[in-house]
Amino acid sequence: MARAGITEGSYLSAEPGRGWLSSWLLTTDHKRIGILYLFSILSFFSVGVVFGFLMRLELIARGPTIMEAATYNSFFTLHGVIMLFLFLIPVVPAVFGNFLLPIMIGARDVAFPRLNLLSWYFYMAGAALAITTLIIGPADTGWTFYAPYSLRTGTSASLAVFAVFVLGISSILTGINFVTTVHRLRAPGMTWFRLPLFVWATYATAWIQIIATPILGVNLLLVIAERLFGIGVFDPAKGGDPILYQHLFWIYSHPAVYIMVLPAMGAVSEIVPVFARRVIFGYKAIAYSSIGIAALGSLVWGHHMFVSGYSYTAAVYFSLFTFFVAIPSAIKVYNWVGSLYKGSIVMDTPFYYALAFIFLFSIGGLSGLILGALSVNVHLHDTYFVVAHFHYIKFGGAAFGFFAALHYWFPKISGRMYNRRVANWALLFLFSGFNTLFFPMFVLGFEGMPRRYFDYLPQYADLQHLSIVGSWILVAALFTMIGNLVVAAYRGKIAPANPWGARTLEWQIPSPPPKENFEQIPEVTRGPYDFREGV
């Protein structure tokens, strides 16, 4: 059949002497592992979308509509756990990092291929545990599992927390693999400053995964020890301090948001120069800013805790550093926009998605600065303003970046092209639905509507309704976008090896790539965004 034709000789073709199932479940090919992650992550993403959709539906009328308050608490907990730990944290590194990183640096695979497969199994195990809590009585603490409530709740908080621990192991193994790969497996001539910016982004992310994740890991173990044995460190009844839980939690979870967004920014850094047909503006600045975000992002965690009751001294430092951390992100935005200057812009699907990212991320980022101001935070903490902020950054930012990456690298991964008109229309509705859903939340928050509340006062009803309509548009658009890609995977037109005319190494090999990536390891002599003719 036609599919066998284009995949012949590629990583997708059958492996002699191996059954189909084991050729996937026991693969050590980084490309196949990327695909395993893609399918599993998208499945869990869909579950997370369903939770979000139902939460919105519940709020269509005041009082209980389709669920009781306790169920609502579980829903926002699971929505958060799934969207963050099962979707956003792994998605770009584990799907695109795995698929592309070795190819982009001119290698045949990652440094530890079997460890790579193991990381996927840890992901699946953690996911299974998380879904199990859904069945046996999901936690109702919020994805943040704050003590002391998380120490006392009768729901399956221990299992939920352990699921996140297991997922953390997956993230750590990926981080270790990528750092080692970038240091050891670059092709001859692939100097640090010839690396594609996606590699810089993924590399910085990998360091965060290594350093920050274990701190969350031990914090979760401490919660389990509290629940099972009552060790007392977070329990005020025993002289413990719940704020210390928050410290250990956010020391990871703030850098985690950079794990989510940095690789997505890396994807945008790949797309912009290709569609502007010119070298990216300020390559070194963007490369260093990835490292800068990773470093500075480790200093700001206390901005989640301004009203927790911790010291004013700490609050001032954290607010100050929060303003600093905006700088490297802003540098990226300026440089992307600057790359459009004097470019020969090609308006095509991946570029539209990247533009959507830049716009939505900027709004999200600016709203973060608003929240970073101490006095303002007192008014806005735990309101819908925060919900809007992080959805603009995580959904409008990281997730849209993931969608952009999907539309950019789809032809490379599958060897086929999707229907661009459908993709563009899906983006239009995605963008409209997203803004209709989340922008009103900025206003709602400013007007005092608290987050995680299952009911609301009458004055918030109109904006809630507007937001809910937005959620319907958004979900329909998501369905269309993903459906378009799924259809294309099986029936799309055969795509050439380099449909976008890019210069990075992955586009110089066939689509879909062969098993060993390169017939011969390339010798690199130019930068990744060199669009000069005849050079």
Partner: protein, 97 residues
Amino acid sequence: MDAKETKAHIVGYPVLLAVWAALLGLTWLTVGLSGTGLGSFVIVAPFLIASVKAFLVVDYFMHLKYESGFFKYILLIVLGTVVVVVWLVYQDVAYRY
């Protein structure tokens, strides 16, 4: 591939035994110092001595002394992170009302 690698360093038995003796000595010192009335220094002293012991283990038993600069560099990143995180947490804990 292996031909390109420099020959792995071998840490001799005498060096390892000397380090072990030093570790035992430092342990004896730590125990001896505990309970002596050196004021607040007595809280920090065991930690400092432990750090000396840790660095002996890292440098000689774990061969860090003989590794390329890269390994020392990444350890520095880790220690730097620790210093910064501890400092920031203490900005909270030390100044609570």
